[in-house]
Amino acid sequence: MDTLRQTHYQTVDVLVIGGGTAGPMAAVKAKEANPALRVLLLEKANVKRSGAISMGMDGLNNAVVPGFATPEQYVKEITTANDGIVNQATVMAYAQNSYPMIEELDRWGVKFEKDETGDFAMRKVHHMGTYVLPMPEGHDIKKVLYRRLKRARVEITNRLVATRLLLAQDGSIAGAMAFDCRTGEFHVIRAKSVVLSTGAAGRLGLPSSGYLFGTYENPTNAGDGYSMAYHAGAELSGIECFQINPLIKDYNGPACAYVTGPFGGYTTNSKGERFIECDYWSGQMMQEFYDELQGGNGPVFLKLDHLAEETISTIETILHTNERPSRGRFHEGRGTDYRQQMVEMHISEIGLCSGHSASGVWVDEHAATTVAGLYAAGDLACVPHNYMLGAFVYGKLAGESAAARCAQVELAEVDEAQVVAERLRVWAPLERKDGLPPSQVEYKLRRMVNDYLQPPKVTRKMEIGLARFEAIRADLDRLQAPGPHELMRAMEVHAIRDCAELAARASLYRTESRWGLYHNRTDYPERNDADWFVHVQVKKVDGVMTCFKRTVAPYIVPLGEHEMSAYQRLRVGPKQAQEATAAGELATASA
């Protein structure tokens, strides 16, 4: 394009990439650990309104609060919900830090629901324990985080899109490279440690509406971090355990049976009958949901029309002001009133997101990845079912670990060859006079993801998918961007393609079925613990995407035989369904 395009160099101690949920916490905690450190929070959008919780959140899904659950019980619940494939040490680190984190957020001014005595008002949604803490006024959470960033004097840069990590000669972290999506300028940021907190790979599958940005996850979270970690040589884990969520049909917000559950709402089939015992999102629950959706009793609905007026008003206030506030507008447009109609539900496109399932960058209980100096937190880091509170806890752990490393290592030299190669790759779409629009390549890629990777997974289909993704790799060299904004979309297509290949290869490698719908392989329909009670890792080895097994570490909280199978028994039997439905209506009538 023009000769004014520049490359900027800067040096910090800790670089945090991604300013949504985990990132701000990591930056604050790194700075608190050592106020003398230079901590830079780099954000693709604007830290004030970025990430999965840009408009707030309506509750904590997995709060481990004394009196309601112990860390040991929580570790059991998640081990069971994730069909045994967990590194319990990471889940335990979350569980033990969960309550202190709630107390800290409470002091910072995040509003949680409390009862008349000032105790947290916990609700039961999970299959076994009680872990849900509502935040009816959770819309302010980003403001609270922003105030803490300012107070801690964290440096912030907005509108910088990180594309690759910089590596030292020994393979450890040396920083990262990024470009400005407003000017196209190239940035090299040297750092002793880097925290990746770039969120889910939310633009992997294509929503059935065909609208590229109508995804469940914030579509800014295009999987950039998965791609960066992979190319830096980090191990990724559980990628084949896809994220699939039950959503409102056509609208990308969760139907939130788990929010409405404590008020008496529930998921039903078209006959208004319950078919699952527990609305907590798990692969097993999604399989039952999918079966009902495809079966003669489909589609699936959220039922609220039996509830009292004041209950429905309360539900509307929570669901229409938090997380996805355009939801009320969607219902209005369709003429749906919770008082009169059940809400039609559907399943989301596939994504990678450890916050909901288990697909992420492998981390230990200190948020360290397998690359020295690289830490990961939030939806991107493989700690199953971690959700928002997990992002805060692992943000804290990552920030503290990243700060501690700064005292032990020297700043690595920059390898100019990496800078030159990456700048060439990033600027290429701007240089091309003629080529493919990023939106078209993205549409085709994501349509192929739907066609070939969406569960139920079929071996031959996934192999064809891989061939299609390989063909699209060649199209990446034809992407053309008229300006820096379109360049951002072009580079996101690179990351989405990487994620599609990761998803296909990890899924093909695990030749069994596990996690309900998340990894339902029709040609290997049974769970096979003898061969597959292991983590499946993916890593770049000599430039090749390589899958291998990693042993599940011995449990620190042992589980009984009966406890392990709890999530396999989610379907309500026919007689039970009638009783459950009748009981629900009885409870409402007497309420």
Binding site: K48, Y211, G435, M488
Partner: protein, 77 residues
């Protein structure tokens, strides 16, 4: 390669009588996670430049004059 421009009905509407971008306001542009809003400098008003919307609503919520309205994108309505 020949390229065609296909028109698209976009979800974010800006009331130009209320918008104060000509006074230097860029709040909606600043808060958008997808960076799809821009200022038309010839008019001094904000507008949706790219149809890449998550209908998440910070632009509407944070606008100091109430000039911005986020509709559900047509494909989803």
């Amino acid at each position: 390669m020949p390229i065609a421009l296909t028109p698209s009905s976009v979800p974010v509407r800006v009331d130009e009588d209320l918008c104060i971008a000509h006074k230097g306001c860029t709040v909606c542009v600043d808060v958008c996670p997808l960076d799809v809003l821009a200022i038309d400098f010839s008019k001094g008003k904000a507008f949706m430049k790219f149809d890449e919307c998550w209908y998440c609503m910070p632009c509407e919520q944070d606008c100091p004059t109430g000039a911005v309205t986020v509709d559900i994108p047509y494909l989803l309505r």
